[in-house]
């Protein structure tokens, strides 16, 4: 299935929002260097899963291991030090800070931002270079998404969590962003991707998991899932109709 010692190993995690069980025992793993996609409809628990991995939420049961080390229950700001960088749903750039300041924030865990990282981010996203001194609240949605990813890269991620990077963006920009994610992955960063855009995600992902109301119902290699009848019916309906 995956590499013998997964980078991230999530076992039977259960998360509650008050009385509601958002995750009912989700297990999956991400091997070093992989791109793994979490798919599913709205409310399936994809974002909750990712938030739990990055420490924003605390599981009531189950374990999460990162490089063999238990990390469930560790607060988010400490997990950043391990190289777990989370690009949240909705981008969440700091709107009243400039692009430059946002990128600096990404490197907050270091004494100084690494100039080589900055150079690389601006190379990956030339648009950010053009907007460098501009307040990020004035950027377009696509530019904000690029900034959010760039900001995470400034933290030298080992595991990059991407939550719906395609949300609300034009298809051309989405393709661009997925290309860049592929490039980031090739440079050695492991990626855990949450997407509703299943065809885009699976064409990029090595493996995928399909979530349904807090449970994993299907898993497999990206290619296999892409061909799977159930996935096609449930999540690729639009694409089939269009093609």
């Amino acid at each position: 299935m995956s590499a013998p010692q997964p980078l991230l190993d999530v076992r039977e995690i259960e998360v509650r929002y008050g009385a509601i069980r958002a995750l009912k025992g989700v297990s999956f793993s991400v091997g070093a260097g992989e791109v793994v996609a979490l798919l599913g409809a709205n409310g399936a628990g994809k974002t909750t899963t990712q938030k739990t991995v990055s420490g924003m939420l605390r599981p009531v049961a189950g374990t999460i291991e990162f490089e063999g080390r238990r990390i469930d229950g560790t607060p988010a700001h400490k997990l950043v030090d391990l190289g777990i960088c989370h690009v949240p749903e909705g981008r969440h750039v700091f709107p009243r800070m400039t692009v430059a300041e946002n990128l600096d924030m990404g490197a907050f865990r270091f004494k100084q931002p690494d100039p080589a990282d900055l150079e690389r981010v601006l190379e990956l996203f030339p648009r950010l270079k053009e907007r460098y001194g501009q307040h990020s609240g004035t950027l377009s949605g696509g530019e904000q998404q690029m900034l959010a990813i760039g900001r995470a890269l400034m933290g030298k991620p080992r595991l990059l969590l991407l939550d719906e990077p395609s949300m609300g963006l034009a298809p051309l920009i989405v393709a661009q962003i997925f290309d860049i994610v592929r490039e980031i992955n090739r440079s050695g960063v492991t990626v855990l991707l949450v997407e509703q855009n299943a065809s885009q995600a699976l064409s990029l992902a090595d493996r995928g998991y399909v979530l349904e109301t807090g449970d994993i119902v299907l898993e497999g290699a990206g290619r296999d899932l892409l061909a799977d009848e159930r996935v096609r019916a449930a999540y690729l309906g639009e694409e089939i109709a269009a093609s």
Binding site: G55, H77, H92, F94, M97, R151
Partner: protein
Amino acid sequence: MTQFLNYLVLGLTRGSLYALIALGYTLVYGVLQLINFAHSEVFMSGAFGSYLVISAVVGNGKGTSSWEVPFVMLLGVVTGAVTAGAIAWSLERVAYRPLRRRNAPKLAFLISAIGASFFLSQLFGKMFNRFTNNQFPPFFNDNSVAFTIAGAQVRVIQVVDILAALVMMVLLDRLVNKTKLGRSIRAVSEDAPTAALMGIDIDRTISRTFVIGGLLGGAAGFLFGLNFSFFNTMGFLPGVKAFAAAVLGGIGNIRGAMIGGLLLGIVENIIPTLPWVGTEWTDVVAFIVLVLVLMFRPTGILGERLGRAA
């Protein structure tokens, strides 16, 4: 004209103190979206804290030679600031953090704030005999004039107040914009959950924000006490006015609090010099300003946005 200038200087003096206090409200509002109504008592504690140290150092103040005066004043600013910083830190630990841990509703914070405010005010009343007009030992000549403009006398103490406030505001501005601590405060103010994803410890940042607000408020407490008098309920009126100033400038906006404080101090002292008005209207003017701002520009002078983006 002379009278006008006199009141302008008085307005600047009071305004710079309001600004220092207003910064405490606005900083805490930024990180917690909460009006810390106990901040007026943090301010008050600065006056008593510095009083204890200064009266221990200069005794009755008669023996203080003039070259020592600036040092005593600096000591007062520092000890006032430190006392209030410590009180603000404890306040956050005792009155707010436990509520935050439990995800308490906003109203609980407000009630906790008012409770803490009464507690501190009464505690200091009990410790210091509830005298209503405590004075610092007269270690310098209160009436010495620094300079005169168009017949208006500017007293040394007024110059000290204004300068001290300006220096602290410049330092704060630099801290917020240039240092890592400042960036963490701004990040938590803008979007706390995302700040945590950058590796920022939200609890620690909130705690430090309270301390910074306390330091400024405590320094203002000393300066206020030195200029006027101090007592356990002294925080109420300057506190509410500084809150008005913070709203005037745009709550949550740091430069807004500075501008709002100065402006409120000037307006409340200038308007009463108009014919048919009188100085007894000073406090009324301050609150009319608050009401007008809330009615016509609730986001204040510099606050463009109140509701934050989801």
